[in-house]
């Protein structure tokens, strides 16, 4: 149990997917203009990353390891994740139109996101058990959400500020992202994993 808590803290703060591992920078810069859309994206990522861990772990350990096809993990994970997201989308549309509307366009966007693929691969590399994998996926996604919401909040304020013309938009966004990443380096050493 303490290990699970450590995994969550590590994934959220110390080894944050966006700010320390630099995975998923595309949505980090792309849909962080407003807190509202960042929330939607984060919700979708929490959903998909956790589900990915749930599904890819058995696929790896019961299918790939068994047939000694570990080298196929990338392509198999992408296949499984894409199918999974499609399935989730179909189910959501039927069962919960409200949630479907909220996550809407973000779901298909993250099928091949590197953070999502990253969590599947890292689960294997770190030799996590099934439960640990799921917790790591959840923690990683929460860290992703934290970074997204922090960053979009800053960007909303940046839009109002008097930014020098050449720096406006993505340029100042990248500078901010760098500073945010630097700030998160302060968590280094918090957890020994």
């Amino acid at each position: 149990m303490p290990k699970l808590i450590l995994i969550i803290i590590s994934a959220v703060l110390v080894n944050n997917f966006i700010l320390q591992r630099f995975l998923g920078t595309c949505p980090f810069l792309g849909v962080s203009r407003r807190v509202q859309t960042a929330l939607g994206m984060s919700g979708a990522v929490v959903f998909v990353m956790t589900m990915t861990s749930v599904v890819t772990w058995p696929v790896y350990h019961f299918v790939l390891v068994r047939f000694r096809l570990e080298y196929l993990q990338t392509i198999v994970f992408i296949l499984v994740i894409a199918a999974l997201v499609q399935l989730v989308e179909l189910v959501l549309q039927k069962m919960s139109p409200a949630l479907y509307k909220a996550l809407g366009i973000f779901l298909p966007l993250i099928t091949t996101n590197c953070a999502v693929l990253g969590v599947a691969v890292l689960n294997i590399q770190k030799k996590y058990s099934f439960i640990e994998s799921v917790v790591f996926g959840l923690g990683g996604a929460l860290g992703f959400g934290l970074a997204m919401i922090l960053f979009s909040g800053i960007r909303e304020r940046l839009d109002l500020g008097d930014t020098p013309l050449p720096l406006r938009g993505t340029a100042i966004g990248l500078v901010t992202a760098g500073l945010l990443s630097l700030a998160f380096m302060g968590f280094t050493g918090l957890v020994k994993m």
């Binding site: 696929v59 299918v63 790939l64 047939f67 000694r68 096809l69 196929l72 392509i75 198999v76 296949l79 499984v80 894409a82 199918a83 499609q86 399935l87 179909l90 189910v91 549309q93 039927k94 069962m95």
Partner: protein, 279 residues
Amino acid sequence: MLTAVVTLAALGLVAAFGLAMAARIFAVETDPRIQLVEEALPGANCGACGYPGCSGLAKAIVEGAVGIGNCPAGGENVAHTIAKIMGVTYSGGSERMAAIVLCGGSDQVARKKFMYNGVRDCASAAMIFGGDKYCRYGCLGLGTCAGICPFGAIRMLPGGLAEVDPAKCTGCGKCVDSCPKKIIKMVPAKRTVHILCSSHDKGAAARKACDNACIACGKCVKAAPPGAITIDNFLAVVDYGAEIPEDVAGECPMNTIVVRKEPSGCESCAAAAAGGGAV
């Protein structure tokens, strides 16, 4: 090798089968009219209606969120088709608008400061000393608006000016936003008298920069009905709400005022329009 192929294929098949079943089980019934309305819309996804694309507007129309005449690009014809699909009558909408580029400074009449050799894009050109023309308000002639027009209504004249064909223009307004000089305006398509200049420079300076510039002499103001043309900051401006007789154009000493009928310029379009054929 064989195991790899078979395993991947099997995984793919399982996923495909699962998805096919899910699509069956979780199929959501949508209003068939959404499809029909979407087909009736122009399909250019220009976004002038404020929705992400034609499918977004189609959904909003069928759900009753907006009226049937809400496609600015489609205009009357599309509204009538949608009215038929929706089983309502179309009572007519707002006036049809068309874009116009308010600059007459072709390469023959407008003088240049330097040779621009950079990226063939107006926004880039405008960043270097405001463009290569002496006139700060002149059309840069690199065709950014023509490139962005989803309906092919803007063509580049040989003299380095953009011209909008009011017959093809649907009034979506994308070119207005794309122009770094902000000299494209939306005007009622039925108006024919235009002042092709946007220069707010004083008369002498404007004349120095361009032979077709408005020098704010005020002749057209006197010739036109009261209030139909006004001088605003050294530039004569047409009030498009008012009817202006076409002979006002002859009064202009700088040939800035033009009469542009629908369809403009191109002869084949005019012939097609006269023959009643589709353009």
